[in-house]
């Protein structure tokens, strides 16, 4: 277990020892800030009775942040280590493949969540401005953050998988972005396309991340959403583990 924590610490250290970590945090803050300002402006012009946060998770801003930052967070995990050779140094110590896979995933996820911590401050100032009590309802905040964590977990797993495929960080980021945006678009308003067979629409609606986030932001913890995220995350972690193992295939 202590080996696992040493690895997670190393992953986090990698973000904070370089500028990239701070740039990502700054970018998240900037984009969420823009998103909220934009939203408040719109509500002022046309009042809407849902809480601001709930609307926020439907905006493209939130998804822009998730879709853009996750490849940047995860691109280094394997690709950079393979390129510099530290991967070889790592894999010749007595650590298990699963330990490496889970630690890299955990490190990425913790960093992803850290980038959202300042958002609590944003919520707080929003409440000061709007006087909306629901913003700080503990259950709502908790479920919202659980939602962010679930979505983040899925994107981190996808990103780690992409990074494990290559030694180039750029390719890792591009592949992670493609996979990420692909998964997100699958469930993005499938009924609107009008081209899909009728059975496909409800199936794809189950995968609608925008819908999931909407419900999480209302404080609704829906079991089948959780199952969806845990399954897809697990699937990508499993695939990553297979890639890590593959070097030992003859």
């Amino acid at each position: 277990m202590s080996v696992f924590f040493a690895l997670v610490r190393r992953e986090l250290g990698g973000h904070f020892n370089s500028l990239t970590g701070y740039v990502v945090i700054a970018a998240v803050l900037l984009l969420t800030g823009f998103g909220l300002v934009d939203l408040i402006e719109r509500i002022r012009q046309m009042p809407y009775d849902a809480p601001v946060t709930e609307l926020f998770y439907q905006t493209t801003y939130f998804w822009l942040v998730v879709l853009l930052t996750s490849p940047v967070i995860t691109m280094r995990t394997y690709a950079a280590e393979k390129a510099t050779g530290t991967y070889e140094a790592l894999m010749t110590t007595p650590v298990g493949d699963w330990q490496v896979v889970l630690a890299k995933f955990a490190g990425a996820l913790v960093f992803f969540l850290l980038t959202w911590v300042p958002f609590i401050g944003v919520l707080f100032s929003l409440r000061q401005i709007t006087g909306e009590a629901a913003l700080f309802e503990p259950v709502i905040v908790a479920v919202t953050f659980l939602g962010i964590a679930l979505v983040g977990g899925l994107f981190m797993a996808v990103g780690c998988f992409a990074s494990a495929l290559t030694r180039s960080e750029i390719i890792a980021a591009m592949v992670a972005f493609l996979f990420g945006i692909g998964l997100w678009m699958l469930g993005y308003r499938p009924e609107a396309s009008g081209m899909l067979p009728t059975w496909a629409v409800p199936a794809l609606e189950h995968m609608s991340m925008t819908r999931h986030m909407e419900d999480f932001a209302r404080g609704m913890l829906v079991g089948r959403y959780v199952v969806y995220y845990v399954t897809v995350t697990g699937l990508f972690l499993f695939l990553t583990h297979r890639i890590v193992q593959s070097r030992r295939w003859k």
Partner: protein, 320 residues
């Protein structure tokens, strides 16, 4: 039982990549306490062999055991017992020296307290105490190399594997790294790879020469020198009958060995290996003059790795 097994046993080890055989059925043994050098040009299969031994890569066929443990079936047992410094000494350049070594010690299964003790010990041993708090990326290459060596030592492994430990260093740094390796050899079994002949002579007790994935020679370092007494070999191209040439040179006390090869026309190439490092050129010149033979080349070759390979590959052909 464990101590009875040789440190490394390799049998018929082969590693094939698509379209290329990196290691071609090599077998060797390395005993405890030996310092062995893998010598060979780039692409000889040195790194591949070391990667298999450190259980990073699987072999295509054959077996390799470290301290009696199979590198493929019992990788964790093997990894616990080796300290491996990969080619080009990869390090996390953003970490500080002490932080990095502590991290590595934890990965290698040392407890919190033990890792602190060991890190302090290796910092001392490798002369890194002064730079323990510095960021690795800001250190000179010589210091980085010592960080890599410290990492290989930190868990007190039975076997230390170093892939090209002095590559890219300046002569001064090379000297200090070699001194360190020599020091390590007193307590550990050390396997290192290099393409510098000198290095093997200075640090290793035994040498394995690899070429195109095969072992050309495995010898104690001092025997290698003798066997490769190419030093001072003289080659002359003379227009004379083979018998006359052999007779002229065979019985000279300064000559250890003569070889005559036919060339174009009546020209012959005479290769002479001297006894005890004598310069044979004046002798050859005198002999040729006395006999009135036409001479078109007279050179003395210096011993180089290249020569050794040529020598060895020729020997190989003859044996076959």
């Amino acid at each position: 039982m464990e101590s009875a097994a040789p440190m490394i046993e390799v049998e018929n080890l082969t590693k094939r990549y698509p379209g290329r055989t990196a290691v071609d059925g090599i077998s060797f043994q390395i005993g405890r306490g030996e310092v062995v050098g893998f010598l060979g040009p780039n692409g000889a299969g040195k790194s591949t062999t070391l990667r298999i031994l450190s259980s990073f890569l699987p072999a295509t066929s054959g077996t390799a055991r470290v301290a009696g443990f199979d590198v493929f079936r019992e990788p964790d047992e093997v990894r616990r017992r080796i300290g491996y410094m990969p080619e080009n000494n990869p390090l996390h350049l953003d970490m500080r020296v002490r932080e990095y070594l502590k991290f590595r010690a934890r990965l290698k299964g040392l407890g919190w307290r033990r890792s602190r003790e060991r890190v302090d010990a290796v910092l001392q041993q490798c002369g890194l105490t002064d730079v323990a708090g510095r960021i690795i990326g800001q250190l000179s290459k010589g210091y980085r190399q010592r960080v890599g060596l410290s990492d290989a030592l930190v868990h007190e492994p039975d076997l230390i594997i170093l892939d090209e430990p002095t590559i890219g260093l300046d002569p001064h740094q090379i000297r200090s790294v070699r001194a360190l390796v020599k020091e390590l050899g007193k307590k550990h079994t050390v396997v290192l790879s290099t393409h510098i002949l000198n290095e093997v002579e200075m640090t290793c007790s035994r040498v394995l020469i690899l070429h195109r994935g095969r072992i050309l020679a495995a010898d104690r370092t001092e025997d290698l020198g003798r066997r490769m007494s190419l030093d001072g070999q003289v080659v002359a191209e003379v227009e004379a009958p083979e018998v006359a040439l052999l007779e002229a040179f065979r019985d000279l006390p300064e000559v250890e060995h003569v070889e005559v090869q036919p060339l174009d026309g009546n020209w012959r190439r005479v290769s002479l290996i001297p006894r005890g490092g004598v310069d044979l050129r004046p002798l050859v010149a005198a002999e040729v003059r006395d006999n009135g033979w036409p001479l078109r080349e007279l050179t003395r070759s210096r011993q180089s790795l290249e020569d050794i390979f040529i020598h060895l590959t020729r020997g190989k052909v003859r044996e076959d």
